[in-house]
Symmetry: C2
Subunit: 507 residues, 2 copies
C-alpha cells in the first residue's frame, strides 16, 4: 500500500473530526432547540469534548503519524487529497502546538469574562466598564502573536499573525491597499446618496409579514436554489448561522421580523450560500479537516453572492416576484419586479453594521479593521477607542454616534477575543465580485436564467470550481486556480456599487 501512513493519519484525524462533529451538533442545538435550563451541563460537556479533541490533535501520536505521512507523500501530486491533508495538518499542528495549554485556557477565561462584561457594558452603553476586559483580551492576543511568531518568524507585522487563523497567507498591508480603494470610492458615493433630495421608496418591505408565510417563501426560494430536505434544514434562531453537521447534513437558520421583509428573506439566502459551500465539498474529504471552506473570505464570498449578487439583482426579481406575490398579495400584489428590486436595494447610512446596505457595509468593516490594526501596532490607546470610532463614523458615513452601545460596543467579536476576523467580511464582498465577473464571462446567459428561476448553472459552476476543493488549497492558491490571479482586486466591487448607486439614485 503506497499510502499506508497517510491512511493511518487520516483515520486518526477522522476520530478528532468526529468529536468536532459532535461539538458542532451541540452548538447547533444550543442555538436552536435546547431548553435554556440545559445550558450549564451543556457547557461542561462541550468543555470536555473540546479538551479531548484538542488533546488528541496536539498529541505525540499525531506528530508521529504526520511525520510518517510526510515521508510517504514526497513526490505526490500537488492536487491530491493526500498531499493536501498532510500539508494542512502540518500547518495546523505547528500553530496549535505553539500555543501552551496555559495560554489556551487563559484565552477561554478572558473571552468568557469579556463576553459577560460586554453584555452589561453594552446594555449600559458604558465603554469604561468594558475596558479592563478588553485590555485583558488584547493582552491575550499579544501572547498569541508571540507564540505564532515562533512558527512564522518572517511575518511583516503582528496583525498578520492573527489574521493567519482566518485568512491564511494574507497580510494587513495587502488588505489596506484593497480597503483604501474601496473607502476612497465609497465615501463620496455615500455622501452623494445622503445629499440627494429624492430617496428610494422602500415602503414595500415594511408592513405586515406573518412569520409562517415568510418561512414558506424563504423555503420556496432556497429550494429553487438547491436546498433539499434530504440534506438540509432551515430553523429559526436569534443570531442566524449556517452549520455543517456533515457535508450531507446542512443546517441553516434565520431570524424573522414580523414587520420587515428583508431580514429573514436575505438572511436565508445568505446562510444558504454558506451551506451550499459545505454541501458541495467533495465526499472524498468527509470527516477530514479539509471538509470546510478555504477561508473566511472565501466563505463570505459565497454567502454574499447568493444574498446580494443573486437575491438583490433585477433579474432574480423577475422570477421571485411570483412566489413573493403568492406569499404576500397585500404587499407585493401590485408591485413590479423593479419596485421590489429598488426597495430591497435602498442605500441608507446607519449606525449598525449587521443592518447596513451593500454600499455602507464595507465602510463599517474598514473602520474597524483600521482600528484593530492600530491597536495591535500600539498606535492607539484602548480608552481612546470610542472617540476614534465616532470620528470615523462621521467621516466615512456621515453618521453621528451618540451612544457607545450602538457605536464601538455594537459587535460581539472583540469581547469574544476575536482580532483579525473582521476584515474577512469585506474581503468576501471583494472576492464575490471577482468571481462574479469570471462566472458571467463563462456563462453569459447566467443572469437571464435567474429571471426563469434557474440557478442550477451557478450552483454547478461553484461546486466544480470552488466548493468541491474544500480547504485543500490555501486561499491564494484557490484564487489562482479559479481566477488566474493571487491578488484581491477591489475594482469589480467598486464598479458594481457605483453602477448600483447610479441605477438607483441617478448619475
Amino acid at each position: 500500500m503506497a499510502s499506508q501512513a497517510i491512511t493511518k493519519l487520516r483515520d486518526h484525524l477522522s476520530t478528532v473530526n468526529d468529536i468536532q462533529g459532535a461539538l458542532g451538533l451541540m452548538g447547533w442545538d444550543e442555538r436552536t432547540f435546547m431548553p435554556t435550563g440545559g445550558a450549564e451541563v451543556r457547557a461542561e460537556r462541550r468543555a470536555t469534548l473540546g479538551r479531548m479533541a484538542h488533546e488528541m490533535f496536539v498529541s505525540s501520536e499525531t506528530e508521529t503519524l504526520l511525520a510518517d505521512a510526510e515521508r510517504e507523500s514526497i513526490g505526490f501530486d500537488p492536487d491530491s487529497d493526500e498531499l493536501a491533508l498532510v500539508k494542512h495538518t502540518r500547518r495546523t499542528l505547528d500553530r496549535q502546538t505553539a500555543i501552551t495549554s496555559e495560554l489556551a485556557s487563559e484565552a477561554i477565561r478572558a473571552s468568557s469574562l469579556g463576553y459577560q462584561t460586554w453584555i452589561s457594558a453594552r446594555a449600559n452603553s458604558d465603554f469604561q466598564a468594558f475596558l479592563p476586559a478588553l485590555n485583558r483580551i488584547v493582552d491575550v492576543n499579544r501572547r498569541f502573536v508571540e507564540a505564532y511568531r515562533t512558527v512564522q518568524p518572517d511575518a511583516q507585522e503582528d496583525y498578520d499573525l492573527l489574521l493567519e487563523d482566518f485568512e491564511p497567507g494574507l497580510t494587513a498591508e495587502e488588505i489596506t491597499s484593497v480597503f483604501d480603494v474601496i473607502r476612497d470610492r465609497a465615501i463620496p458615493l455615500v455622501a452623494m446618496v445622503r445629499e440627494r433630495a429624492v430617496d428610494v421608496d422602500d415602503g414595500l418591505v415594511h408592513g405586515d409579514f406573518p412569520i409562517d408565510r415568510q418561512r414558506d417563501l424563504a423555503m420556496t426560494v432556497i429550494k429553487q436554489c438547491g436546498f433539499d430536505d434530504k440534506h438540509w434544514r432551515l430553523d429559526e434562531t436569534h443570531h442566524p448561522f449556517a452549520s455543517s453537521i456533515a457535508t450531507t447534513d446542512i443546517r441553516i437558520t434565520t431570524r424573522y421580523i414580523d414587520n420587515f421583509f428583508n431580514s429573514a428573506f436575505f438572511g436565508s439566502l445568505h446562510e444558504f450560500g454558506h451551506g451550499l459551500y459545505e454541501r458541495q465539498v467533495s465526499p472524498s474529504l468527509e470527516r477530514t479537516p479539509l471538509a470546510r471552506g478555504a477561508s473566511m473570505a472565501w466563505h463570505e464570498s459565497q454567502s454574499r453572492m447568493w444574498e446580494n449578487l443573486v437575491g438583490r439583482s433585477r433579474s432574480f426579481w423577475e422570477w421571485a416576484i411570483g412566489p413573493a406575490r403568492d406569499a404576500f398579495p397585500d404587499a407585493f400584489g401590485n408591485a413590479s419586479p423593479d419596485d421590489v428590486y429598488r426597495a430591497v436595494n435602498r442605500l441608507h447610512p446607519s449606525l449598525i453594521r449587521v443592518e447596513a446596505d451593500e454600499l455602507t457595509y464595507n465602510l463599517h468593516i474598514i473602520l474597524r479593521f483600521e482600528m484593530e490594526r492600530e491597536i495591535l501596532a500600539g498606535k492607539i490607546e484602548l480608552d481612546k477607542l470610542p472617540q476614534a470610532w465616532n470620528q470615523k463614523m462621521e467621516e466615512y458615513l456621515g453618521v453621528d454616534v451618540t451612544d457607545d452601545a450602538d457605536g464601538v460596543l455594537q459587535d460581539v467579536h472583540w469581547s469574544s477575543g476575536l482580532f483579525g476576523y473582521f476584515p474577512t467580511y469585506a474581503l468576501g464582498n471583494v472576492l464575490s465580485l471577482q468571481l462574479w465577473q469570471r462566472i458571467n464571462d463563462e456563462i453569459p446567459s447566467l443572469e437571464e436564467s435567474f429571471a426563469q428561476g434557474e440557478f442550477g448553472e451557478l450552483r454547478t459552476w461553484l461546486g466544480e470550481n470552488v466548493h468541491a476543493h474544500g480547504s485543500k488549497y490555501l486561499p491564494k492558491d484557490l484564487m489562482e486556480r479559479v481566477l488566474g490571479t493571487r491578488e484581491l482586486n477591489p475594482g469589480p466591487l467598486t464598479n458594481y456599487l457605483e453602477a448600483k448607486v447610479t441605477d438607483l439614485y441617478g448619475a
Copy 2:
C-alpha cells in the same frame, strides 16, 4: 480531603458521561430533526464516540481510580452518593470487563445484520428469512451468558445473566411466579370481555383530530403535570421516546395519528412519566452514571403510572374534559367525563402489543418472556417459534395470527439482540400498582385532586421517594425503601384490572 480518591473517580466518570451525553443528543437528533442524508456520517461519528466512551470506561485508569476509591469508601454511609457511585461503578466495570472487545463487536455486527434482515423479513412476513440472523443473535447472547457467568457464578439460570443488564437482582423464576398469577387471572377476564355481547363504545376517540390541536392539547395537559419550557421539549417522531440530555434538559416525543385520539395523547403522558423521572434525579448526581432511573421496570412504572393510573382514570377526565372540549369541540363537546373515560379504556384483544389495552398488554409480554426463557434454556427450536407464538396468542388472547409479520416478527427487540428486556414492560405495570397503593395511602385525596387538575402532590411524592435517588440503589433496595418489601407483587395490578373490567363490562 476525605473523599479525594472518590472525587478523582467521579471526575473521570464525568468525562465518560459527557461523551455519552453527546451520544444521547446525537440519538435524539437522529430520530427528530436530522435530514435523512446525514445518517451515514452520523453512524461513523456515533461509532467513534461510543468506542471512546467504552475504552475510557474499561481502561486501567478506571480500575486504578476505582480501587483507590473503594479503599477510601470503607465505612461510608450506605446512603451516601459516594458509596453508591463506587458500588455502581464496580458492578458495571466488572460486567463490561468480562466482555471481550471481539464479542462486543460481534454483537454490534449481529444486531446490525439482524435489524436489516428483520426489516425485510417482516415486510415479507417471512420468518425463515429471519432465522439465520436470529440464530446468530441467540449465539451472541449465549456468549454473553458465558462471559457474565464469570462475574456472577451463582446465577440460577442463563436467562438471569441477561436480565441483569435491565433488571439487576431479579431472576426469571421470580418473574415467572409474578407472571403466572397475572396470566391466570387475565385469561378468563379477556375471554369474558370477548364473549360479552355488549362492547364499550369508543367512537369518541376515532374521528377528525387535526394534529396541531392534538399537540396543543398534549402540551396543555403535560404542562399541568409538570412540563416546563425551561427544561423540556416535546417533538414529533415515528417511534416515541424520552431522552434526558441532562436532568435539566428533557426531551420527549410523540406520534400523531390524525384520526385517532389516543396515540399522541397517552403517548405524551407515557413519555412525560419517563422524562419526569430523569428530570427529578438529584442535581448532585448530574454527570455521573447514577443520574438515571434505577432499572427498566422502575422506569416503566413511572411512564405507565402517568399514562394509565393518571391519564386513564375517571377523576383525571373530570378535569381533562375541559381542555379536551376546547381542543376538539366536535368530538368532545357533548361528551361527559365518563364517556371519555369509557372510550379510552375500551378493552379489545388484538395482534399488536404496542396498540394493546391495559389488560391484554401484559399477556403480550408474558408470552414473549416465556418463549425467551425457553429459547435460552434450549427447550424450543428457533424454527418452531411461529407455531409456538400463534398457539399462545390463541390460548391467551383468543386471537388468530394469520401472518408472522403481525405475530412473532412484530417487535424489533430480538432483531437488535435484546434478550431479557421484554419482561420489564409488564413488571413496570406491576410496580406501578404497588406504588399506587402506597401513594394513595399516604395521600388519600390524591385522585380527587386530579379532578381539579392538580398533580403537584404526586409529582413531589415521586420526586422525593423515587426519582431523586436516580440509580443509587439497586431495584430491590429501592423497593424496600419505598414500599417496605423486596417482592414484586402482582396482586394490586390484577385487582385493579379486575375492577376496571367490572366497571366497564359489568360483573
